[in-house]
């Protein structure tokens, strides 16, 4: 098992795509992957999330029970999923809208990324999720940052939606977390 990841945030922040890119990146390395969204009425409330598993072996259940990495793009995501993170796991937090004063668990690694500010700076309001992925690449071992970056590009290229700003966002994400 390489990693069990949850991406969570408001609808519109691109959490589902973030998860898809991770699955895509995993498949690119011949890993087994599953991606499972929350959907339906649940999404209308405003919160969306998806479960991603990346593994060397065939994946039985697609549901993530114990999280290796949480991408928390808003406050509710932290509320909802922080407790499911494994001891020693990683939580990447969008510190632009998640209150910096809250107490986080001490047995996990918390990476705070001011994703909204960065997105504004990079003039790429839809780049929030890419910034978070960049930060995750910097903070975890699941993917080599360069590989994940190329996977992001390839993912959008496959869809015919190339946007050079994504690359800048990704880098900004990595950098923000190194700081």
């Amino acid at each position: 098992m390489i990693g069990e990841i949850v991406c969570s945030g408001f609808g519109g922040q691109g959490v589902l795509v973030a998860g898809m890119i991770l699955a895509y990146a995993g498949m690119g390395q011949d890993k087994y992957v599953t991606w499972f969204p929350s959907y339906g009425a649940e999404m209308r409330g405003g919160t969306a999330n998806c479960n991603v598993k990346i593994s060397e072996d065939e994946i039985a259940s697609p549901y993530v029970k114990e999280i290796d990495v949480l991408l928390a793009m808003n406050e509710t995501s932290v509320d909802k999923f922080e407790n499911q993170i494994k001891a020693g796991g990683v939580m990447v937090v969008n510190s632009s809208i998640v209150s910096p004063n809250r107490d986080f668990r001490s047995d996990i690694k918390v990476v705070k990324v001011p994703a909204n500010e960065i997105a504004r700076r990079e003039a790429n309001p839809k780049g929030l999720n890419i910034i978070m992925l960049g930060a995750m690449a910097g903070a975890t071992e699941i993917f080599e940052p360069d590989y994940l970056k190329s996977a992001v590009d390839k993912y959008f290229a496959d869809k015919g939606k190339v946007n050079p700003k994504n690359s800048l966002c990704f880098d900004a994400g990595i950098n923000s977390c190194i700081i």
Binding site: F10, G45, G46, N74, I97
Partner: protein
């Protein structure tokens, strides 16, 4: 005061009230609600109590005195 009362906690930031207010009394505020909506605020001094905002608001934010 007492021209108009608003309950911004219900506001979802659709902007209908803004575009129908004849006197420009309503603007988007800086405030973001719990659900992530940028809510409105009213400059009551400008309000002429026409009721347009009340009529258009899908989320029952306004009451006009």
């Amino acid at each position: 005061m007492e021209k108009i009362s608003i309950d911004v906690s219900r506001c979802k930031g659709c902007g209908y009230c803004i575009c129908v207010c004849p006197s420009g009394a309503i603007t988007k505020s800086e405030e973001v609600s719990k659900k992530g909506y940028t809510v409105i605020s009213v400059d009551e001094s400008k309000c002429v109590q026409c009721g347009s905002c009340y009529k258009m608001c899908p989320d029952y934010v306004f009451q006009i005195f």
